[in-house]
Symmetry: D2
Subunit: 412 residues, 4 copies
């Protein structure tokens, strides 16, 4: 290693519009120009803006949440060409560290309006809301959600290699079909390519238009490359094995999270931040076949916050919705019910429901598939760590309502 | 505590037909006669048969899996009347210990025929199969799945209080409605009451008929009382808070598991066993309102097997099925894909797919909801512990096919 | 494995004098007759009496502690001959399970009189005392130390293979030399062979006399074979590698502990119990040379109680004694000081010092060597788990004195 | 919190002689001038040089180890005055983060010559040696000890408040007495005040002379204030409760370690580094009496690297030295033997003894007091994490000697 530390493969400028920065992009497309070259075996630092590119401010209003422009997101850093990587290889990404930027030691968790983005519980909680989190070393706390403080399980929400033209076509076809099948539904079921606000890095106009027309949106994770998988445990020390679909891999990363709960239920639900990720890259030649790999796999790092199994309260939810309707092994319904059970539990201490919705999105809650075969009920669980609260939330302790202030709401 | 140990609230006889034993029953109904009375604060031992009541044998054929009679299951021990418990209370169940019966130190994991019970992957793996597990203290191993050995996370698959008549009606109504709505589907979506093979404990004929006609099947867990929630972490030292719906609570327990993976994907998927559970009971008066509780909650015990986060390989799955069809935030589809990814990975070492399907059902795999809001893809993960294998399954090690024998299949 | 479970290699009878039972012995000597033969690869159950052979009773007086006859202890079960084992081999002992005897679900922790046995803090706490612990499944609690309850980290205090005649001579020589060098000291520094109350299993008179004259006492662990190493983490699932010094290994085990703290400071300091241990034996031919092994090594099992690192309060102690005298890198003095710091801390809650001394001996406290090179001060730490108390002992919570009753003391 | 992050209470300059920097000092004395003032409740960043003040270089020779000037060490940053703190209070120090300096991403572990500093095993390994460690995010590896890589448990070796004049006199008296009592010994047993190379921060000449004459050396931790306790678990997220002896507390910190093993056996045994520590300070008024506190206590943070208990090999050592001499409950002798057992074990893989001695000093080995009452043998254990090696060191795997290169030695 160079004695003075690893080089920066890319830096960002928080005082400049994300759309103007050439090492950022906001669509998946094989033709986005490379942001630099990295050697196999090399470790580099990569800076990232927050996923919205700075649209959300450190203040006490959720107006910015309400007004967010989702055609702009997510701003990713890259793509980087990894030398020797070819289609069929596996790119091994070792996450050596993730840190907030020193000049911006805070992040945000948000709830979008049901009319603009929505979230997992938007039928019940349709309004925008926001919490700002201050970072104190490895810990964070929020003036908008008093009484909690926890160590971040810091990680990137998005990382992946570029799709090939063929993979990209598969994505657009199958998501397009879902959109047409669900046209009767009252909500967006997927996001088609969107030329408006496309950012294709340093691409010229022709490529930029092509990317706008064909480029896959960054919102969903996808089986072929990972992408926005929003896995809370991809933290310091993790190793991720990513399928390579194009020459040079064209790796991008972004959407850094100081912390996230399983499910990231409010959609803008992690503690979103700008930051710097240190990665070591290696190439496993012919890895996809060797590992018989269709989707990414990973091995978590050794330094996750540990609470001890007996320091969680677990809530159960089943595939019967809040109106009493029975669903057939619907795990999504079950997990929504599980989330509601936690909200009902924590509300007793004086929090409003939006505060709890925000908290479950970003705190290190454990969301498990428990039983998925006992017809007709899927059962999921959510483990809430007792020790992130500075008062005792145990069921054997009588709940006392406290003044918990409020999260940020919109001005009108 | 009595100096000589806790009393047995119920014992079972493995040499006698389960249907003949008066402290067992196989439906949920408020009128099943009590199997005994327990004082609040008391700790008792309760023996249980395996969930099938002995239909599965320690041999090398899956014929018994194919021929299983599902109208008989699950055989539960109880119901026990807990003194002072009344509707609206919460029954606190502290699981002090769970042990296999000394005279039967083995268990089984099974895959049912798609025609008779099925399981999570039955479209792909429609045939019956079986693995027998030998217990060596806290560990288990199987002649049908060589190369693995692990400590059990021992727990009851089913525990809960009896439904009131009103709760029972709710169950029958909503599940009946699902059945009628799904009559076009090629498979059972729920099980209605079934008089055939009903076992109502020591009930007389009239009650038995009533239970047969109205009694809820034990297969699904249900939000109002828990029941067959199949939560792998309800192990030694756990505390479970259960809603009480009838006077005396009428608590039943059964379906003991030596170990289970999140999801228990093959349905008969845990390591099913006969055993003894030691429970301390307490009553929290008015607990449902105090805790604002609609479904059970629990706190795991402190002695779960610990592998360290870096000793899991995690697999990702998304809501795109194996034919390439895109689903809208369907977590069940995502978890099925996640399971298939693990099968593909482990197949490289010489296991057949049924062996792996069995293993993922019963070994302590961690099934997580990762992202559930990134339209259209739900993302789930499954963590496979490296250290349950006696060879190195790490991705950086070249996979060598071994002779892994086979699980048990049917004779014809 | 036999379908009906592992065989008992030895059973004990709690209603019979330990000195009369042929499979027990209380000295280390190669000539003690074998108590049975075990095949390599075999798993057996071995029952053990408590280390005192039943001298301590479940009552509220410490008279039995004061009057204990230490010439009788420890009663071990064995020795067992492991087929094929020869000097120079390593005996691999896999501890599959440890359980209390069902008919005796309680144990004891004691402090001996400074005049008869003593303990780590006997200069300060010279009087006998006792606590009785009731087992509730994996948990224990004591009427003599209210306010605490914890899961046992159950293990054998003693296991090892018989010394050869040569090894035995080494022991007797070097300990004899210490005794003569320390004759000026006010206390026993080691225990020489003691014919009185020797128990040599089924030996005839001649052998019994020889064992009495030469047999090593069981109190110290010793580097050549382990023995009474009192390691709290040798629990369920552990693998221990033991040097073999005689043909057949002649393995013995006993001194079962339901739980113990690092140091077992009060000497009779674990939760001492009668019980049954299930062990799988294997022989590693030529293992001592292969592993370059002089003393036993082990790998703990995976099911230790987990509290999370942030759920311990750690106390520091240095090699300056309570009179202010400075010692040179004396870790024993440092650990004594560390223990005293915890006593001072817990005393604030209403416990008397003897209760705490007992508690630190048997609860799962973590005793660490921190710094051992910073002349002149060795520094050790003791981690006290917060979650074994049913009230909050955190330093930020104001300590309130409670009525904590008392441990058992002598009648006069 | 200020939106732009916490302020630096002190910065260091790696290009300038440590002895010239006014915020550093290298003795404990109440009269060293304050380096700044911190408010209770405030969080600040504090930079530190490595403990030697840059005497050790990133190269492949141990000449700098041999030639080190120990009159200069340790360079600490401070002392800081914490507003409102007074004698008898407790200073609560929350370690929010510790990081290496970005411009110096490496550290060193050293063995001093027996003639100049020595270490725990210097009778056996008297020569200087060195290993340089490169930091890769949270991990480190060394060209001098191939085959290992691990996550750092990063922490300060030294933190504490200044002694009062009275406390200082106690230290000098009792250590002086030890020195005179041990004048016959062949080695330094303690370090008296040393005017040569004293650094008293920004003090004028008179104070500097006083500090030189009276100031306590920083090498030992001491019960009254902690100081150089070298506790490996004082890492990110820890809370330390420190006794206050002078007005303003006069807190100092330094000797940052990227990682350390229990005991830090080679003396310069941690991975020593320059870095930045982020601390939140609070004052607990009258805390010493409230907590009945004589020595510091602490609560570790939640993010320690976790290996799982079954991923350690534990070695046992007893108080019989390598010449066969028996000691009476000498835990220091036992821990030395334990260390030697690990060296013998690891030597089989091709490492030289000095490489292993260095490794055990700095890798996260667990050093436990096991039994400390079984006369005459104290028993200690050392747990070696299997997963820090990139090959399998398990005892069941045949050891193969590899080319492990060498650590750095002196040039002649």
């Amino acid at each position: 290693m160079p004695e003075k530390g690893h080089r920066y493969a890319a830096k960002v400028d928080l005082n400049k519009d994300a759309a103007e920065q050439p090492y950022l992009h906001n669509r998946w497309h094989p033709d986005i120009p490379t942001a630099g070259t990295i050697k196999p075996g090399e470790t580099v630092k990569i800076e990232c803006v927050d996923w919205t590119g700075g649209q959300i401010k450190n203040n006490d209003s959720a107006d910015d949440m309400r007004d967010i422009d989702l055609t702009k997101i997510h701003y990713l850093t890259g793509p980087f060409e990894i030398e020797t990587a070819e289609p069929g290889d596996v790119l091994l990404v070792e996450i050596q560290d993730v840190q907030p930027l020193e000049e911006q030691p805070w992040g945000f968790t948000g709830i979008f309006s049901k009319q603009n983005g929505g979230g997992f519980l938007d039928e019940i909680y349709p309004n925008p809301a926001k919490a700002i989190w201050d970072f104190e070393g490895i810990h964070c706390s929020s003036r908008h959600i008093p009484g909690v403080r926890f160590a971040g399980l810091i990680h990137p929400g998005i990382l992946g290699c570029a799709p090939s033209a063929e993979v990209l076509k598969t994505w657009n076809d199958r998501e397009g079909q879902l959109i047409s099948e669900c046209s009767h539904m009252d909500r967006d079921v997927a996001k088609p390519p969107e030329p408006h606000n496309v950012h294709a890095g340093s691409a010229g106009q022709a490529i930029k238009e092509k990317v706008g027309k064909e480029g896959a949106r960054t919102i969903p994770g996808r089986p072929e490359h990972g992408g926005n998988c929003d896995i809370k445990n991809l933290s310091r020390g993790s190793k991720v094995y990513l399928p390579v679909h194009v020459k040079g891999a064209k790796f991008s990363v972004g959407d850094l999270h100081f912390s996230q709960g399983d499910g990231e239920i409010s959609f803008c639900g992690a503690i979103e931040m700008a930051g710097c990720i240190t990665i070591k890259f290696s190439v496993m030649k012919g890895g996809m076949k060797k590992l018989d790999m269709k989707s990414p796999i990973y091995i978590p790092g050794p330094v996750e916050p540990q609470f001890g199994p007996g320091r969680y309260i677990y809530f159960e939810g089943f595939s019967v919705d809040e109106k009493g309707k029975q669903y057939y092994l619907d795990t999504t319904v079950a997990y929504r019910q599980t989330s509601l059970r936690v909200i009902e539990y924590l509300r007793r201490f004086g929090y409003n429901d939006y505060q709890i919705y925000l908290l479950l999105s970003c705190a290190p809650v454990q969301g498990h598939v428990a039983g998925i075969v006992d017809i007709p009920n899927a059962c999921t669980t959510m483990g809430l760590p007792i020790d992130i609260f500075d008062f005792d939330i145990s069921p054997h302790v009588e709940a006392v309502k406290r003044d918990m202030g409020s999260c940020a709401f919109t001005s009108s």
